[in-house]
């Protein structure tokens, strides 16, 4: 029933209410992310030209999007010249099948993967596992959530929602360690030892792509742990998976993006490794898969095409007061937070139509975005589209219509406010009024401003 559907809370609100119920844990989650936001501020403010870099990055990305097909063609031509095999995937299904084909051609059944939100978007792990191919996520955070059979809750810090004791328990449970420990150093060393074996046994490595350079056909991967490179340089086959929008025109543009990315994401001046993969090693295969999956549609959307500028730094999540207090899982989508709330409705408006409302439109996300996406304005735009799609005569639409009428018509306004004065406080502050669950309701004044002014002018 349409009315009941609208009466009930959206999914995000439901999840968020549960999350926030654990007050101390919410504080812990909020403070962890605020800490990263602070690190970002420190790093960003240490560069005098920070705002100029943001503007340059925004312009480069916008320009690229207006000439996307040219740059994609240029990239493919140059990469191919370098001995890289370039594949085009219309959608997630095709993407996964391409990966499978590459692996099966060489009878590979063990793969190591480094951080790639795109492969999350495609649910690649589940697909390969269903084909009896072992795929191990080798980023510590990604590996932890893989062991827990959970998706990442943040695009840069996948396990930010887990406490170290929980990770220690997990490692003991999965026989990564013999004893249960909550010491991060001990746990990290244990993962180094365990995963090294996986690198040894795997014949293929899959990575994401931070930037692909049209001019040179190379792909750039930014990491901290060393696992992505370990995979690529010790494998027969390397596969780099990227969304169409990761293209930038020239190598020199990396100067702008490499100065913005890590500072925005973690507050580091640069990631430990900035790897520029251009040609396969002798005797090895190198593949790049270009994924569409809706991007060629989104680029024509006048309201939301600039969301394709996103370089997946996660800064918007770290700053979002709602994300910090509700966690990545409250968004029910591969990518959470402000940028996720803009991408998700274009994938499935019915399922994710609540996300653009999970925001106060405070605008903090827009101000931290290194490529200056007007995130909070796009959330506002989505609200208009979603409300229209929900149609007329829903409870929300009728409520807003009534409100508009009352506010438009002076007599109606005076009548309703006059009546409101007589609603007793015990009703106003009861369970019926959702406002009053956590707040006292403001008192309607005996003399409104307008009635005071009317009287004053009469005198």
């Amino acid at each position: 029933m349409k009315y009941l559907k609208i009466l009930s809370m959206g999914n995000h609100a439901k999840h968020a209410e549960k999350f926030v119920n654990n007050d101390s844990r919410t504080d812990w989650h909020d403070e962890s992310l605020w800490y990263v936001r602070n690190k970002r501020d420190k790093a960003a403010h240490a560069i005098d030209e920070w705002e100029e870099l943001r503007e340059l990055a925004s312009q480069i990305k916008t320009h690229t999007l207006t000439k996307l097909s040219d740059y994609l063609r240029e990239f493919e031509a140059n990469a191919t010249k370098n001995g890289v095999v370039v594949h085009w995937a219309k959608d997630a299904k095709e993407h996964n099948e391409i990966v499978l084909k590459i692996l099966q051609a060489k009878n590979i059944d063990r793969v190591v993967k480094s951080k790639s939100m795109l492969t999350e978007e495609c649910h690649l792990n589940q697909f390969l596992e269903s084909k009896n191919i072992e795929i191990v996520d080798t980023d510590l955070g990604e590996w932890i959530v893989q062991l827990k059979n959970q998706p990442p809750s943040h695009i840069v810090m996948p396990a930010i929602h887990l406490k170290k004791e929980e990770i220690g328990q997990l490692f003991k449970e999965k026989n990564i360690t013999d004893i249960e420990s909550d010491d991060p150093e001990f746990l990290t060393l244990a993962s180094r030892v365990f995963l090294r074996k996986k690198f040894q046994l795997s014949k293929a490595a899959i990575t994401g792509v931070n930037f692909a350079i049209a001019e040179t056909g190379e792909v750039v991967v930014c990491t901290n742990e060393g696992n992505a490179d370990m995979g690529v340089h010790f494998s027969e086959v390397s596969i780099h998976c990227m969304g169409l929008e990761k293209i930038i025109p020239k190598r020199k543009h990396l100067g702008v993006f490499t100065r913005l990315l890590a500072r925005s994401a973690t507050g580091q001046n640069i990631t430990v490794y900035t790897s520029h993969h251009r040609r396969p090693e002798k005797g090895q295969e190198k593949h790049v898969i270009l994924l569409d999956n809706g991007r060629s549609e989104r680029i024509h959307d006048d309201d939301f095409w600039t969301a394709l500028k996103c370089i997946r730094c996660g800064a918007c999540m770290n700053t979002c007061p709602i994300y910090r207090r509700s966690g990545g899982y409250s968004y029910d989508y591969t990518i959470p937070g402000p940028i996720g709330s803009i991408l998700a409705p274009s994938v499935d408006l019915e399922a994710h139509g609540d996300l653009p409302f999970a925001s106060t439109l405070c605008g903090s996300c827009t101000d931290v975005c290194p490529v200056k996406i007007d995130l909070h304005e796009q959330l506002f735009r989505w609200r208009q589209i979603i409300s229209k799609k929900q149609g007329a005569n829903t409870l929300r639409e009728l409520t807003n219509k009534a409100t508009s009428l009352v506010l438009f018509n002076r007599n109606l306004y005076n009548l309703s406010t006059g009546l409101m004065k007589y609603v007793p406080s015990f009703i106003l502050n009861s369970k019926l009024n959702k406002w009053s669950k956590g707040r006292k309701t403001p008192k309607i004044s005996n003399t409104s401003f307008k009635s005071w002014l009317k009287n004053k002018n009469k005198l």
Binding site: I60, W88, A89, H233, E281, S296
Partner: protein
């Protein structure tokens, strides 16, 4: 229709007015003492720095590391009794690995390596301890300047390495030494 054609057709279905590409800037700034800034950055990201201006020469520095196995010299720079130019291509068995970088970046302590002439690339990542040599004349301020310098390099694989490997994936606790090198020693000559 191939997927490529499908995708490109979809993108070209409607064209958008071209936004012009901005001019790149180098953001050079003379107020910085490049060597000092670079050294401080290296230290802050967990690397140790040895400046051999003081007359130590490099093999001596390498010797003091007491590598458990012969130091793998990826760039064939030395011929020492405790170094080797041969690589056993596996993920175990290295301790100290040595390479030479082309540029040091003062703003982030990173060292750019063009690996084209290296005998093995993976060892940069699989070793326990990594030693990178950089000439002080080649320390530049920032990444804009780096890419200006290497803009037309024809490398197979290039990498900027800044500090030893690390992770903060467990409750934001920084752990130095994740999957890659646990230590990075920067030698400035």
């Amino acid at each position: 229709m191939t997927s490529k054609e499908y995708i490109l057709n979809k993108i070209d279905k409607k064209s958008r007015e071209e936004v012009s590409l901005p001019q790149m800037k180098l953001f050079e700034d003379n107020q910085y003492n490049l060597l000092k800034t670079f050294t401080n950055e290296c230290i802050s990201i967990g690397a140790s720095v040895v400046d051999v201006k003081a007359g130590n020469h490099i093999p001596n520095v390498l010797k003091t590391l007491n590598s458990k196995v012969p130091i793998v010299d990826l760039v064939n720079k030395f011929d020492l009794d405790f170094s080797t130019n041969e690589v056993v291509d596996d993920l175990y068995g290295q301790d100290v690995v040595f390479a030479e970088g082309e540029y040091g970046i003062a703003e982030n302590g990173g060292i750019w390596l063009d690996t084209t002439k290296m005998i093995h690339r993976g060892l940069l990542f699989s070793c326990e301890r990594l030693v990178l040599l950089i000439n002080r004349k080649n320390i530049i301020l920032n990444m804009n300047i780096l890419y200006d310098r290497i803009g037309s390099y024809d490398y197979d694989f290039g990498v900027l390495i800044a500090g030893p490997s690390k992770t903060a994936d467990i409750e934001q606790s920084l752990v130095i030494g994740a999957q890659g090198a646990k230590e990075l020693i920067v030698i400035i000559e």
